[in-house]
Subunit: 616 residues, 2 copies
């Protein structure tokens, strides 16, 4: 009843593809017959119908939401209609005089409603006090505007924390047509009116709602609320969660998009579960630009909760070469943050490898522009986001010198490379290139010691380097394959250990676009990882390694003789040489352990899992 066509339009325009239902369509035949015979329905007639609509609403809420129009005249009807979903229900009451409505009904041809029946409905009506009330006398267009302006004060998605990444994600969401609320804390004299200022800077944020009051922010978001936190990883996340909690409703969903530790994400997930709040920890990679134009997104938590945020995350994510979103449900608990941590670990090693190539080419006397030329020539075979920005960086000049030459050589780190190294140690999965890259950054921090050591250990040997640019490219590519093997192996080990059941190929796929480690190699690995979890057992990879490895031996040995530090390139070879050694010298270590600590050992001539001890 009422003006359902307008309703439908209104709902369709305000919300994003939520289904629309006419409650009358759910009446049992007996009720329809009764009404057709001019009799008013009584409460008994209505009961099953109201329950059916309540079931319908609950079913729809599992996906997203829906709009239902129906006569909900009495308070106890409304209690039945919203049973179990009270907090997620929004009421809209179209009110009008008896005459107006009677005239409108009489103007229809396909509807049966006697004056008698309408009167009985008016007598029955108990006006709701918690509804958006709208006069039906208004023109349909005006009704739409009115409902829009009322409902539009309610956002679909909230974001807390307007730092570099938070701002980019807000603009990305708004550019994709989402109605968002944005919150940034108020810090006297430091962070004031950040959200308002940010909104005013960008055209696409014209319908976004800015807040620095947390309660108002939360109230502006429709239930179940989807609120993404883009705040500093660590204690801040817990503080923000505790600040939010009193204002949230059961079933709301918090999404942590920072680089949180995966163990912490599990803890927060468990904590919020006790409050009936869903928690999704998600990696977001792509830096400022990726976050704006389409990042790679790695969410984990409850799959059902993920479905509710899926339309937002998959819409704003980068798209792969098949136009599929670079966002996929990773797995339970903190698996999304684990995967993001390994992503960053791989990134650490990829950056360190480029820095070592830079060292080698610098040692041959090339200036940054000439080095950029070499890297440019590698694009056919080794294209990647990091190679690309390295070329741009090397070409960047300031006055008459290259900017890179003026940057202090102390490399910072913010946790994820550190955690990836710790995970490697804890899980027994040797991602040695990630560790080497981390330690190289640490060593770079010993600037004063390095300067002193440089004086103490100075040698005046002539450089003697004899290899081609292609040898160097092969060396670089070889190390990258080892790095990717180790990274995916670390994820694989975690997946087994924590029983996460992760899909490595799908993870590679969402890393083919939007993120910092996107590359041609990653595109190839999507296919490789469909048939094996170990890159090094793939035939194509084996063939490529056999081809390029000799270059690596040549380059690494020469760098060692010429004292050029190449910790990651060198480790890639040493790891590989260990990995392809069928019978290693670890037997001696087992003997030593048994000698001094009676730790026992196994024998090659006994595969029964028996442990032996020798009185040496």
């Amino acid at each position: 009843m009422w003006e359902k066509h307008y309703w439908e339009i209104t709902i369709r325009r305000i919300k994003y593809s939520i289904p629309f239902f006419d409650g009358d369509d759910f009446h049992p035949q007996e009720n329809i017959d009764k009404m057709a015979s001019g009799q008013a329905l009584n409460d008994d007639d209505r009961h099953d119908w109201l329950v059916a609509l309540n079931d319908l609403a609950k079913e729809q809420l599992k996906n997203n939401s829906c709009a239902i129009v129906c006569s909900a005249l009495k308070q106890n009807y409304r209690v039945l209609l919203s049973k179990g979903i009270e907090k997620q229900t929004e009421w809209i009451h179209l009110f009008g005089s008896f005459e107006t409505i009677y005239n409108r009904i009489n103007a229809r041809k396909d509807h049966f409603m006697s004056s008698e029946m309408l009167k009985s409905q008016f007598d029955t009506l108990e006006e709701p006090d918690n509804a958006i009330a709208i006069d039906v006398k208004l023109l349909p267009k005006e009704i739409i505007e009115k409902i829009k302006s009322e409902l539009m004060e309610i956002s679909e998605f909230g974001l807390v924390g307007l730092g570099v990444m938070g701002k980019s994600l807000c603009r990305n969401l708004a550019n994709n047509g989402f109605k968002i609320s944005m919150f940034n804390r108020h810090v006297e004299g430091v962070e004031e009116n950040v959200a308002v200022g940010f909104k005013n800077e960008h055209q696409e944020l014209s319908s976004a709602l800015p807040f620095d009051n947390l309660q108002e922010f939360v109230n502006s978001i429709q239930k179940p609320r989807k609120i993404m936190l883009m705040v500093n990883a660590g204690k801040t996340v817990d503080i923000v969660i505790d600040d939010l909690l009193p204002h949230l409703s059961e079933g709301d969903i918090l999404i942590d998009g920072g680089n949180s530790n995966y163990n912490k994400t599990k803890e927060r997930f468990d904590y919020l579960k006790t409050k009936n709040i869903h928690f999704i920890g998600t990696g977001v990679s792509g830096g400022e630009e990726g976050a704006l134009k389409g990042p790679s997104i790695m969410p984990s938590g409850d799959r059902e909760a993920y479905k509710k945020v899926q339309p937002f995350l998959e819409t704003i994510a980068a798209k792969d070469e098949n136009s599929l979103p670079c966002c996929t449900y990773i797995g339970p608990e903190g698996s999304g943050h684990f995967v993001k941590m390994v992503h960053n670990g791989i990134e650490y090693a990829e950056m360190q490898l480029l820095a070592e190539i830079f060292s080698i080419l610098s040692a041959t006397g090339k200036n940054p522009d000439e080095i950029a030329d070499v890297l440019e020539s590698w694009k056919n075979e080794a294209d990647s986001y990091l190679l690309d920005i390295t070329i741009k960086i090397l070409r960047k000049k300031e006055d008459n010198d290259w900017l890179v030459n003026k940057i202090l050589d102390k490399a910072g780190n913010k946790g994820t490379g550190n955690w990836a190294t710790i995970a490697t140690a804890q899980l027994g999965a040797p991602s040695t290139l990630i560790a080497s890259a981390l330690f190289a950054r640490y060593t770079s921090f010993y600037k004063d010691d390095r300067v002193e050591a440089n004086k103490n250990f100075r040698t005046e040997n002539d450089l003697n380097l004899d290899f081609s640019s292609n040898d160097l490219l092969n060396t670089y590519q070889f190390a990258r394959i080892i790095n990717h093997y180790q990274g995916f192996n670390l994820i694989d080990q975690a997946s087994s250990f924590y029983k996460w059941d992760l899909n490595l190929s799908e993870i590679a796929r969402i890393w083919t676009s939007g993120c910092i480690i996107k590359s041609c190699l990653m595109v190839e690995l999507v296919e490789v990882l469909k048939t094996t979890n170990s890159i090094l057992s793939n035939e194509k990879v084996i063939k490529q390694i056999k081809k390029i490895k000799p270059s690596s031996g040549k380059v690494v040995s020469q760098c060692i003789l010429n004292e050029i530090p190449i910790t990651c390139l060198s480790e890639s070879l040493n790891f590989f040489n260990s990995y392809k050694t069928a019978n290693s010298s670890a037997n001696l270590i087992q003997a030593q352990r048994d000698y001094f600590g009676a730790h026992t050992y196994q024998r090659i001539d006994d595969d029964s899992d028996t442990f032996y001890h020798t009185n040496w």
Copy 2:
């Protein structure tokens, strides 16, 4: 009063050098005058005197214990005497008839006690009900025996957990004349009567008390109890602590001698503090043999509590070249376990270096005996416990083959190498050789993958190795210096970070004997670390490195060309080359981080700590 000379002898023989005091020596002059004039002292006269004796006892308890003889006739005197130290006080009551004592006093020449006075004392006496009661009619010798047999049921030191290390420590303590109680849990059919059986196996344990009932074990130890736990690190420690707690008294001292994680030790320290129990976490190195003959011991916790266990630990510890114990108070909290963890990390790397030398020499076609010959020839320059046992291991034959050839090449690990690597990552102190050694063990565990990779990547190149045994020795020694530099640097960083104020030279000193990493090099480092915390800035070390480093470049580069895995030897060079690079390529990494994440960077032409961001 009473028979103080016998007392003194008795106490001296039972306990170990605890001071003896005659309470009469502490009477104020007024009291002495009053007694001399034949007047009995009243309670007012005695009050200050009793308080003085109580003060004396408390003062003495700070060190160890003491014996005081005095008239403690009334219950309220005894309350005063033991005020605040009730649980640490043991009462011995020498009782006798009026005649016996009166006659004895009259036989003396230098004591004033009228019959009147003695009678007043007998009238005053309220017999104690919690004292060891001994009849003075017995002969002095019998009194001694009686007290001995009563007191000797009380051990000085308890030890929980009779595994390999626990058993050796018990025998070590007993060999040094300590009266100990030994406990091992009872597990039906698996661990039954372990303590009794162990006692019966060894002559030196004849006076040790064996238990498998925890309460009886605890009650057999004198207060404040010193109980050392030699159980598996991890949850077991907490379980044993919780089992012990109900039976302990305030002021008792628990010593965890296992390889516990230093963070856990801090937690347990804090937890037990709330129960007024002292907790000392201590590293014990030396394996089975060291524990028996003298280990290196690394205790930490409250310095005052340490003083009470010091006589035990320092007595059983190994002795350095100056006969000083290889045991020293390390520092607060879990610093002892941290230092032990780094000890084990250094040990991991030292073992891996020997394994790599073994790989290289094996590749040249030498058999284990021939390799042992080479290592034997290095003893002048590179002697160490690990070198020594490696030679013995390599010479060990079984039937007609060397035993080492029959040992499966999967190297185990039990936590400390793992934790040392994690600490390195967390503290930003790159102990890269420890990490490499840990990862080499992990890689060794991929036996199946290695065998498969060996087939997939087999190459048929002739070996081409051209260096001398001396080159190899230099390479080994170079890597060892780097390993020790990194290990002590890690301790130094932890010391600063946790404000532990550790003494690196003293730590090196207690590692010169008893422990697994004792070596000539360690003896040299005791001196080096007296003047610097950074080994690599010592002139002698600089000179040595300059001499031996060229060999390392030669050996490592050839091994790389010949595909011999030498991850630790190679890393020692790469780390060093990075460490002595004044201007590294970390500037490129900073530029990359700023490019994609706006992480900012510092400039070499601005030392004001300003951070810059470029719009690349």
